[in-house]
């Protein structure tokens, strides 16, 4: 352990624990997932950074969307995201979740992922190199340190707006709202 960080550990052990135990959900979307096996295996050993992939979303707290998001995938992404326990961090990987990328005029892919679920950080590129994943992770550490990786709080706060967007693009959703109806009257203030 880094000696310089002892004060941080003493001050906010919870944050430090979240930082160094990012459990990534094995959710493979699009072509970006091809960069993840080298990241988690020996060449760019992701466990140096405390990241390990986990089997189910109920054990994970890092959600990487690694490529274009088709409508069918969006449904799975929402369900997976809502199953993850708090705190959870979402990272968009590659240019397709950012603004559509090369699928900007496709009839079946959503263009902006952050209209449907909150996203804490983006890794731009098509494809990003594995090094970019680690740069993204260290940025995420900074965000967690400063309390800015608050996607799960924003999701709770703006749930009505997120749910409305999800229903606009997917039609009637066949699962009940995650948060109770009291939040539904809450409007977006920003």
């Amino acid at each position: 352990m880094d000696r310089n960080q002892i004060t941080k550990w003493l001050k906010s052990p919870g944050k430090m624990a979240h930082k160094y135990s990012l459990h990534a959900v094995y959710f493979c979307t699009g072509c970006g997932i091809i960069e993840i096996p080298p990241v988690i295996t020996t060449r760019w050993d992701a466990e140096r950074f405390g990241i390990i992939p986990v089997a189910t979303p109920r054990q994970g707290n890092l959600f990487m969307i690694t490529g274009y998001v088709a409508l069918k995938t969006l449904k799975a992404i929402i369900r997976t995201y809502e199953q993850m326990p708090d705190p959870k961090y979402t990272v968009g990987f590659g240019s397709c979740p950012i603004n559509g990328g090369m699928y900007w005029d496709s009839y079946n892919t959503i263009k902006h992922l952050d209209k449907y679920i909150p996203v804490d950080g983006w890794i731009a590129g098509c494809m990003p190199r594995p090094e970019a994943v680690f740069i993204g992770v260290t940025h995420l550490w900074t965000l967690i340190d400063k309390g800015m990786a608050d996607g799960y709080l924003r999701y709770r706060k703006n749930y009505a707006a997120y749910r409305r967007n999800q229903e606009m693009v997917l039609g009637e959703l066949d699962w009940p709202p995650l948060y109770p109806a009291a939040g539904e009257t809450e409007e977006v203030t920003q």
Partner: protein, 168 residues
């Protein structure tokens, strides 16, 4: 294999048009009603592998062209050598406003997902198909999205562009 097959096809059916640019490829054009019988004939003559069912939208002509791509497995074909692969495409055209074909699942069972896909993306109806339910798409499209008159950019603008950002 191809020259003899071309001769026998032309002598058996009077409504097919066969072109064979070389000894390894052949294109058979048949009217839509004789697709099952021609396909069965080709299957009985050694082309026992349906590689793909595809579709082309000829917008100006007002036709949809359904293409069955056939080849053969090595075990049944004594003439097969590594330098002579056989590619046969069977084509037919159906009118764009009422595209209907007979399903060929009883001849090639693996045509089932291809026909479902073409039904979904081009709107061709395959009579006799057991389940023409959606395969890939989540939304209902007024025009099947792979047709030429489907305006992708306008659709994207209307559908995804109209969704507001949650946090600016």
């Amino acid at each position: 294999m191809i020259p003899s097959l071309q001769k026998s096809l032309e002598s058996t059916f009077n409504d097919v048009r066969v072109t064979a640019p070389d000894d390894s490829r052949m294109s058979v054009f048949a009217p839509k009603d004789s697709i099952p019988i021609v396909l069965r004939y080709l299957k009985d003559n050694g082309l026992d592998h349906l590689a793909l069912v595809s579709c082309v939208d000829w917008n100006e002509e007002g036709k949809l062209e359904v293409v069955y791509i056939l080849s053969c497995y090595m075990r049944n074909n004594t003439e097969y050598t590594s330098w002579q692969r056989v590619h046969v495409s069977l084509r037919t055209k159906v009118p764009r406003d009422n595209p209907e074909l007979r399903s060929v699942i009883d001849i090639f069972e693996n045509a089932e997902p291809y026909e479902r896909e073409i039904h979904e993306l081009f709107g061709v109806h395959f009579a006799g198909h057991p389940r023409l339910t959606p395969l890939f798409l989540e939304r209902n499209y007024e025009i099947p999205p792979f047709r030429k008159d489907f305006d992708t950019r306008k659709y994207v603008e209307d559908t995804f562009g109209s969704i507001p950002s949650v946090e600016s």
